[in-house]
């Protein structure tokens, strides 16, 4: 297994797209969060309201999901596109191990980059929001010492890792970049966009049962537009999707002709 891990790690670090992904995760998460935070203000300063400023400082995670989907999908589909997968499986005939190694490396890479991104995004975002009037007494000050803030920051990074693993699994199953990426984007964003337009029960079910439920991990205020699921449970739904896709990929990849 160490040989397979070393081989897959060598692959990952010798293409530019990996460093681009890390940069994109950081830039999209921090950049988009700060952009929205700087455009939002609470007047008069210190007045109360029901804004979820923890979630608001991490809103860039929505966009970072795009980069993560592409990264996870391409880890397999780029090999199918070039035929490199034949070389990979000829060198490492235990295909399940190749999948496991890719999952571990892609997951950890996204988790580390994601955690750096969400921590920076949270700290900088809180400062901008406070300066824009989201300040005590109306809005308590949030720091990384508080449990709910830690859950949101760590949970968002874990969510990105779950999305990457789901993407890896779907990529291995579908073997075509465009097909895999478009089905993932539909899966992630259709419930967000159309969920609120559907009858309430159907819309809620859609939001709870799709991987986007993982975004609930950022929520600290019960608002109307919140995802109707408990934070860790929502993250669990995202990981269940990832696990299901990887398991299915594991069985298919071993049976199918490469």
């Amino acid at each position: 297994m160490t040989a397979v891990l070393r081989a897959e790690w060598t692959k990952l670090r010798t293409v530019r797209s990996t460093s681009w992904t890390v940069i994109l995760i950081l830039a999209l998460t921090v950049g988009f969060s700060l952009l929205l935070a700087s455009g939002s203000s609470s007047t008069p300063p210190g007045a109360g309201g029901d804004n979820d400023i923890v979630r608001d400082s991490l809103v860039g995670v929505y966009l970072a999901q795009f980069a993560v989907v592409a990264f996870g999908v391409l880890a397999f589909t780029s090999e199918y596109a070039t035929g490199l997968i034949h070389v990979t499986f000829a060198a490492m005939p235990r295909r399940g191990r190749v999948l496991a190694a890719k999952a571990l490396l892609v997951g950890v890479t996204v988790l580390v980059a994601g955690l750096a991104a969400t921590a920076m995004s949270f700290v900088a975002g809180q400062r901008v929001l406070r300066d824009n009037g989201y300040s005590p007494p109306g809005y308590p000050e949030w720091t990384l010492h508080e449990g709910a803030a830690q859950r949101a920051v760590l949970g968002s990074a874990l969510l990105l890792a779950a999305i990457a693993l789901l993407a890896l699994g779907i990529g291995a199953l579908l073997r075509h970049s465009a097909a895999a990426i478009s089905s993932l984007l539909a899966l992630l964003f259709v419930p967000l966009i159309f969920g609120p337009l559907l009858p309430e029960r159907t819309g809620d079910l859609l939001q709870r049962a799709t991987p986007g439920a993982g975004l609930a991990v950022q929520q600290t205020v019960a608002r109307d537009d919140a995802i109707p699921i408990a934070p860790w449970t929502g993250l669990g739904v995202a990981f269940a999707w990832a696990g299901g896709a990887l398991l299915l990929a594991y069985f298919l990849i071993r049976r199918r002709d490469a």
Partner: protein
Amino acid sequence: MTQPIETLHLTKRFGGRTAVDDLSFGVPAGSVTGFVGPNGAGKSTTMRMMVGLARPDGGRALVNGRRYAELRRPLTEAGALLDSSAVHPGRRASDHLLWLARSNGISRRRVEEVLGLVGLTDAGRRRVRGFSLGMRQRLGIAAAMLGDPPVLIFDEPANGLDPDGIVWLRGFFRSLAAEGRAVLVSSHLMSELEGTADRLVVIGRGRLTALTGVAELLASAAGGSVTLRTPRVHDVMRLLAAAGATVTTDGPNVLHVSGLDAARIAGLTAERGLPLHELMPHRATLEQAYMQLTRDSVEFGDGSAW
């Protein structure tokens, strides 16, 4: 005795079509075996089953007596070049070889060695995107050689190579065989294997058509003719025709003879004291011998046509 590569009743179906049909042959060590057949005959599918990429529907393909999927460090047992475009364009050539080396516990030093072996030392740090088809082919050969394997499998390796490259490739295959390795080289062009292969496995529509040594095939091929020059054209013509040969002429003093070999012609003319200025036998080319072989097999193999 088991041979380095063996297929036993190997069969593969795609939907209703049988791509490889009950194919059994062996590839011995110390020789270059040409694997020949028209496009779509099942050569690539057979090779993909040899290295575990496709699952046979029947029979087995064995490398060093075992199924490829059971090999723990497969690159040290069999090297294969199936498709030279199968590299990530954004990766440096040496990094492509490095991950392959890592996957089978092969040292980093070996990467430089195989780059040198195929003449890519200077291009090793370049990204594969900028490689010509011939350079990619060489990179694929370097990858196959990484584990210094006793078995080598090449699918259409001459594709995209320039004439220099093809000459180099022939010498390379011969030296691999001389080192005692078993080399299997597929081609849809018989002429590419002339002077390279010792043995031939010929398939058509997934079935074994012929399994023969190149020397035997050439010797058995009919259609060899002899060209000769003589100042006594008419006498020689009459003499040889009487001996059963077919004789034609297409220039002053020149005769083309078929049906008699050069030794027989020389003997007959010497008996009559007829002078010969030149006596030149034409051997059938491998291509011609192959065409004859496949034509025969089509005629004899497809009984329904009669």
